[in-house]
């Protein structure tokens, strides 16, 4: 009986969404059936800050591509659901996208943990999936139709440039500080490997609970070990708290390099509030307004993004996720346009065989669907003033110090860069 009731409720929901779909679609009644691109991206919960800015980028792509006449002459329609930053909602959402909405193209949910439940699904159904900033999501299943939008293939590759910098500064002793949560732990694993590869010694290696408020105790315990380099893997709240604690109680004179994998130091409100506290910090990034990263189209995209960011109540600068989410759209667009098809097998073959031009540069994929050339950059914050968001819009404040291919300045030891 209860099943029947649930079923009725579901049928009503499906009917209602069909009706809604018809109403929404009637504007384009004369046009052809749209190409449906489906994905989930967090609009609530801890991942929603990045999620909202990423969604705006994909909406801009949709508007652009529809302005150019759509894909295969058909308009593009985004089918987007909020996964609430919760992996448990993902299986249901992707089944809905595939089995009810019958989307033509599929993008992964934002972040690694939410992508994990989708991978077996697309492998089993043999579908093309562009992962959305999921780290090493294809390692286990080795699906031949998975492609990543994250410019780093693995945690090791992600951490590597930092340890090259440490080496360059004659660092031998490394301290590692990581939040007890998925991404931070994965990255910390990469950092451990890279430190070991270079013969460096881990003098401090601790994991902290994500809700930690005060980091002064940890920093004191760490300072005693006199590390040359400190690698932090954290999330926005704790990253900001750690950077502040470093200014307040210091990390000692031994430290030549401080930073690593702190999520959140790319976000406009966090950067603006921390201001000069950030000086000298060396952190990973995906894109900053430096000469070496001026790929065709990126500045015009960011101008349009920033114009719409205020109304959408999202990150005002949009340097981190948005250009790469726009690039996801471009990957799909180039493959569909070139193959004149929505056949996932053809699209995957095209993406494997060809260079894809995006606003974040030309991308080639390896057999795992990861970028064959890592493009994760490390930037050093320099000469920042307080309470000024506009300073981040120009070059010279977030200097690319690694890798060599995109370098716009030499690394300055932590203490010197803070003066």
């Amino acid at each position: 009986m209860k099943f029947a009731r649930t079923f009725t409720a579901l049928r009503m929901a499906v009917a209602a969404s069909v009706v809604l779909g018809i109403i929404a679609g009637s504007a384009h009644a004369q046009e052809k059936k749209p190409v449906r691109v489906g994905f989930s991206i967090a609009q609530t919960g801890p991942l929603s800050g990045a999620g909202k800015s990423g969604l705006l980028a994909l909406q801009i792509w949709r508007d652009d591509v529809n302005g150019r006449g759509g894909l295969l002459g058909r308009p593009v329609e985004l089918i987007v659901y909020d996964d609430q930053s919760n992996a448990a909602t993902v299986p249901g959402i992707y089944s809905k996208l595939l089995d009810v909405d019958k989307v033509d193209l599929l993008i992964g949910p934002y972040s690694s943990n939410l992508t994990a439940p989708v991978m077996p699904m697309v492998k089993q159904r043999n579908l093309l999936l562009i992962g959305n900033f999921a780290l090493d999501a294809n390692a286990r299943l080795r699906h031949d139709k998975y492609f990543s939008s994250l410019p780093s293939a693995s945690a090791d590759q992600w951490a590597a440039p930092f340890f090259d910098l440490a080496k360059q500064l004659q660092g031998k002793a490394v301290a590692l500080l990581a939040a007890d949560a998925e991404f931070a732990q994965t990255l910390a694993g990469g950092a451990r490997n890279e430190a070991k590869k270079r013969g460096m010694q881990l003098v401090y290696d601790q994991t902290y609970p994500p809700a930690t408020v005060d980091f002064s105790s940890m920093l004191r315990a760490l300072r005693v070990k006199q590390p040359d380099a400190i690698f932090v893997a954290g999330y926005p709240s704790d990253s900001a708290a750690i950077v502040r604690a470093v200014k307040e109680i210091g990390v000692g004179d031994s430290v030549k390099l401080f930073g690593g994998g702190m999520v959140g130091l790319q976000n406009a409100p966090v950067m603006q509030s921390l201001g000069s506290t950030l000086n000298g910090v060396v952190n990973y990034h995906t894109w900053v307004p430096e000469k070496s990263l001026e790929f065709p189209g990126v500045s015009s995209f960011l101008a349009r993004y920033q114009a719409r960011a205020k109304d959408a109540n999202v990150d005002a600068l949009g340097y981190y996720l948005p250009p790469f989410n726009y690039a996801i759209g471009q990957m799909l667009e180039q493959a569909v346009t070139a193959t004149k098809s929505l056949d996932h097998k053809l699209l995957a073959k095209y993406l494997h065989d060809n260079a894809i031009n995006t606003i974040v540069g030309t991308v080639r994929f390896n057999e795992m669907g990861e970028w064959s050339q890592s493009r994760m950059i490390y930037i050093q914050f320099r000469a920042l003033a307080d309470k000024n968001l506009d300073q981040f819009r120009g070059p010279g404040k977030q200097v690319v110090v690694a890798p060599a291919a995109h370098k716009t300045g030499d690394i300055v030891p932590f203490a010197a860069a803070r003066k």
């Binding site: 009986m1 209860k2 099943f3 029947a4 009731r5 649930t6 079923f7 409720a9 579901l10 929901a13 209602a16 969404s17 809604l20 609009q43 609530t44 987007v80 659901y81 909020d82 609430q84 919760n86 992996a87 448990a88 909602t89 993902v90 299986p91 249901g92 959402i93 089944s95 809905k96 595939l98 089995d99 009810v100 943990n113 994990a116 439940p117 991978m119 077996p120 699904m121 286990r140 007890d180 949560a181 998925e182 931070a184 732990q185 994965t186 994991t207 609970p209």
Partner: protein, 317 residues
């Protein structure tokens, strides 16, 4: 007795219906969505045995759910146990956890007990976070095996298994409610000292209810990793499970076994629908509004409202 035979007929029909659905419903999404609703029926029904009948508000349902899920994962990783055995083992472990929580009622009552269950949940989560064998904070992939012969997909099998679990949980709750155990628990809820003084074996009953409730909540969590093909602590220990486990019986009506079922279908069903329709911050708003409106408008749940309406209707000429 006649009531029981009617219940048994209903139960048998439900099993056949669930089995039939796995054969004749073509749309896979139906099974993904109903699985979640069924899972909440088990969770809410299990919670209600201690919380609704006995009046001890367990605020750590997520811990039982997640420990059940992780127990299944650990056993799959090391012994490749079959699904029914995983569920059984999970129920055993969470039953023990329930027993321990039940022992807390020896000294703690009311909100003190609830806060103690929160503490238990935090400790369990920290242990899992630090246990690298099951993936720690990073989580671990647990791939579904090939679907067995009768079912065309593994998710359909999970749906059927969860339907059976839901039936089992409901039948058990109904048994507890209608037997002397239920009477004893209600006496404890209304006035524990008085119950004790008239010879109700309060401690035994509380331990029994806590153990059974815990075991069923763990069973609800056991197939979770297989449903997701993956498991990680943040979603397994989600506050959502703790809130839902108490909100659903409350919305449906916690005095009767049917209450949690109605509440789970309503709340979990709404959440499922909202997730794939409105799908924005408004889904948090809808859950919030549902909670406020129902506890205000229907103090004894939907069932209470229903009885009131029927009673009023009966008085009319």
């Amino acid at each position: 007795m006649r009531n029981w035979s009617r219940f048994l007929i209903g139960a048998t029909l439900s099993v056949l219906l669930a089995l039939g659905l796995t054969r004749f419903v073509g749309n896979e999404y139906f099974f993904f969505a109903t699985y979640v609703v069924l899972q909440f029926i088990v969770l809410a029904t299990a919670w209600n045995i201690l919380g609704g009948y006995g009046g001890y508000v367990n605020f750590g349902a997520s811990a039982f759910f997640a420990v059940g899920a992780y127990c299944a994962v650990a056993l799959t990783q090391s012994y490749a146990l079959a699904l029914p055995l995983q569920i059984l083992a999970a129920a055993l472990v969470t039953g023990l956890l329930g027993f321990a929580v039940g022992a807390l009622t020896l000294r703690l009552r009311g909100i003190y007990f609830s806060i103690a269950t929160v503490a238990v949940a935090v400790i369990c989560e920290t242990v899992i976070m630090n246990w690298s064998f099951v993936g720690g904070a990073r989580g671990t992939t647990v791939l579904q095996p090939a679907a067995p012969a009768f079912f065309s997909s593994y998710t359909r099998l999970l749906f059927f298994v969860m339907a059976l679990l839901a039936l089992l949980a409901v039948a058990f709750a109904r048994f507890v409610e209608t037997s002397w155990i239920g009477r004893g628990l209600r006496a404890i809820r209304d006035n524990e000292e008085a119950a004790e003084s008239v010879g109700v074996p309060t401690l035994k009953l509380k331990l029994f209810a806590a153990t059974a409730s815990g075991a069923l909540m763990g069973a609800a969590g056991a197939p979770f990793a297989l449903y997701m093909n993956f498991i990680e602590p943040t979603s397994a220990f989600s506050l959502n499970y703790s809130v839902s486990a108490l909100a659903m019986p409350l919305i449906g009506g916690s005095a009767n076994w049917l209450g949690p079922v109605i509440g789970a279908i309503l709340l979990a069903g709404t959440q499922q629908i909202v997730t794939v329709t409105i799908s924005s911050e408004l889904n948090v708003l809808i859950v919030g509004l549902l909670l406020v409106v129902f506890v205000v408008a229907a103090p004894h749940g939907i069932l209470g409202l229903w009885h009131k309406l029927v009673a009023r209707g009966g008085q009319r000429p």
